[in-house]
Amino acid sequence: MTAVTEPARGRKRSLNLSLALCFTLMAVVIVCAIFRSSIAPDSPFTQRLEVGDKPPSAEFVAGTDLLGRDVLSRTIHGARTALVGPIIVAAGAFAIATILGLLSGYLGGWVDTVIMRWVDFMLALPGILVAIVVVGVIGGGYWTAVAVLIILFTAPDTRIVRSAVLEQRPLPYIDAARSLGISKRRILFIHILPNILPLVLAYVALDFAFALVNLAGLSFLGLGVEPGTPDWGRMLFENRNILFTNPLGLLLPAGMIILTAVSMNLIGDWLFERLTK
């Protein structure tokens, strides 16, 4: 018996340690995003063409990019676009998905058919390609990307909310509410919604991680943020030629993308375990 419980306990401890690291990292990123100008040692825009791309030195801890801009300061400032867009995408997608999923799951019938056919269609599309092409053709950069990602993310999220609603539907409290003559809208938003909200919150965290990666990807292709904006994805695009001279110009933002995404994924998993079980 002890042999079985031992690794489980060890696992729990390591999980908590990694969770603590995740929360710490997210706290650091959030602080950087809010107080970026006071934390960054230098302006992210100051160019020193005569300096060029130099490896780390006492003056520039993470070196400089092709235009002589401080990589560390640009990475710190990049925390803002790394947080704001994904938060809006995750919140926006789930706000729409919650309404569609509630309607689809509770009303059934043709409403359900129409919404689910639309979801099936969206899921059959190669999402990343759609994002690249639509953002590229429409133009508008970051905010167009945010809007397109909201639409793309709404489809799978709707499916999640709908199946959660379907689980609630046969439960006695719904019957009780209906027999009391409570309106559909009230049942949906006052009775069902609070019961599925924990699940929704867990998925919002996972959506955030996915949105972060996708927005960074679009910026990496030169389609997201405006040229010159300090943004992790954009830095990978602008610094792709300094891999030999100052690799930190790529590795630092790349590392931040991975660590932030991993943290949010683990936090999402943890929320999922805690809130839904």
Partner: protein, 322 residues
């Protein structure tokens, strides 16, 4: 009866795929009109123009017709294999795609091979070593794999194997020589594989763990069958069914990541052609590559659906709801 069932199923899947392709083509066509400004300008790009050229273009792309007529005429041309000409370089879109396709196909195949061999292998190891440090390391690897996009993984691979160790080239696809090509494609294929491998590891692990707990395994053990035989002849076969179900996600994810990987490693494939076209706003080229990519994705999903039903007889006979 069995053959009829399969044929019927394939027909049913195709019946779903056709309207899907129809809608995709409509979306792709609409790109001309989604682009800001006059569609003629979108088709002309940055080239200089006089009224006569503009009129010729309007005539050529039927821009004076109503939208649905334009779409019909365009679709008819596409179905005949005419994807138009690119704005930059005025080349036949179809030729540009054909020229770039081989790299993307080679890259995807190599990536798929790595995913299958290592993904299933690591998943099996994790299942056998359940609860140990190895298992936990594998789960952690899975989290990193799912979180980190192919272009970020690619940059780290480039740095360690290309710059620090100098084992692999840092850009390009090499010449036509097979060995050189393989040498150039190894790192990109690895970056591509890592982006989706975590899913395969996770699913294989879960499925193996579930199968290993079943009575037939205990029975086979009791009969004295070798561990190898039990693993490969019985358990793995059953455990692979969920993996095949997820194959659609894996292959589509692989193709999508190929776009990023090709850009990261400067490979002249379909993905980098698409990105290039998008950056230069070359609408006919974008339409062509998007259409080809989407058809590919739909076709692969169709094939996987069919293969899936062929492998698991329970689905073929309609005994299990998908």
């Amino acid at each position: 009866m069995m053959r009829e069932g399969v044929a019927g199923l394939i027909l049913r899947r195709i019946a779903v795929a056709i309207p899907l392709l129809f809608l995709i083509s409509l979306g792709v066509f609409a790109l001309v009109h989604i682009a800001p400004g006059d569609p003629v300008r979108a088709l002309l790009g940055t080239r200089a123009s006089d009224p006569e050229t503009l009129n010729n273009l309007r005539e050529k792309y039927h821009l004076n017709d109503p939208f649905i007529v334009q779409y019909g005429k365009w679709l008819w041309q596409v179905l005949q294999g005419d994807l138009g000409r690119s704005i930059n370089g005025n080349r036949k879109v179809w030729n540009a795609i054909a020229e770039r396709g081989s790299i993307t196909i080679a890259l995807s195949l190599l990536g798929t091979a790595i995913v299958l061999v290592f993904g299933i292998g690591l998943g099996m190891i994790a299942a056998f070593k359940r609860g140990t440090r190895i298992d936990r390391a594998m789960v952690m690897f899975g989290v990193f794999g799912i979180s980190s996009p192919a272009f970020v993984t690619g940059i780290f691979l480039l740095y360690f194997f290309g710059v620090v160790l100098g084992w692999f080239p840092t850009f390009g696809a090499g010449d036509r020589n097979f060995v050189d090509r393989l040498w150039h494609l190894t790192l990109p294929a690895l970056a591509l594989a890592l982006s989706v491998m975590a899913i395969v590891v996770k699913i294989t692990r879960a499925a193996m763990i579930e199968e290993l707990d079943k009575d037939y395994v205990t029975f086979a053990r009791a009969r004295g069958l070798s561990a190898t035989r039990i693993t490969f002849a019985y358990v793995l076969r059953n455990a692979l069914i969920p993996v095949i179900t997820a194959a659609g996600i894996v292959v589509v994810g692989l193709l999508a990541s190929a776009i990023y990987v090709e850009v990261t490693f400067a490979l002249p494939g379909l993905g980098s052609l698409t990105v290039d076209a998008v950056q230069k706003r070359d609408i006919p080229l974008i339409q062509g590559t998007t259409l080809v990519f989407s058809c590919f994705v739909v076709a692969i999903n169709l094939i996987i659906d069919v293969v899936y039903t062929l492998i698991d007889p329970r689905i073929r006979f309609g005994k299990v709801e998908s």
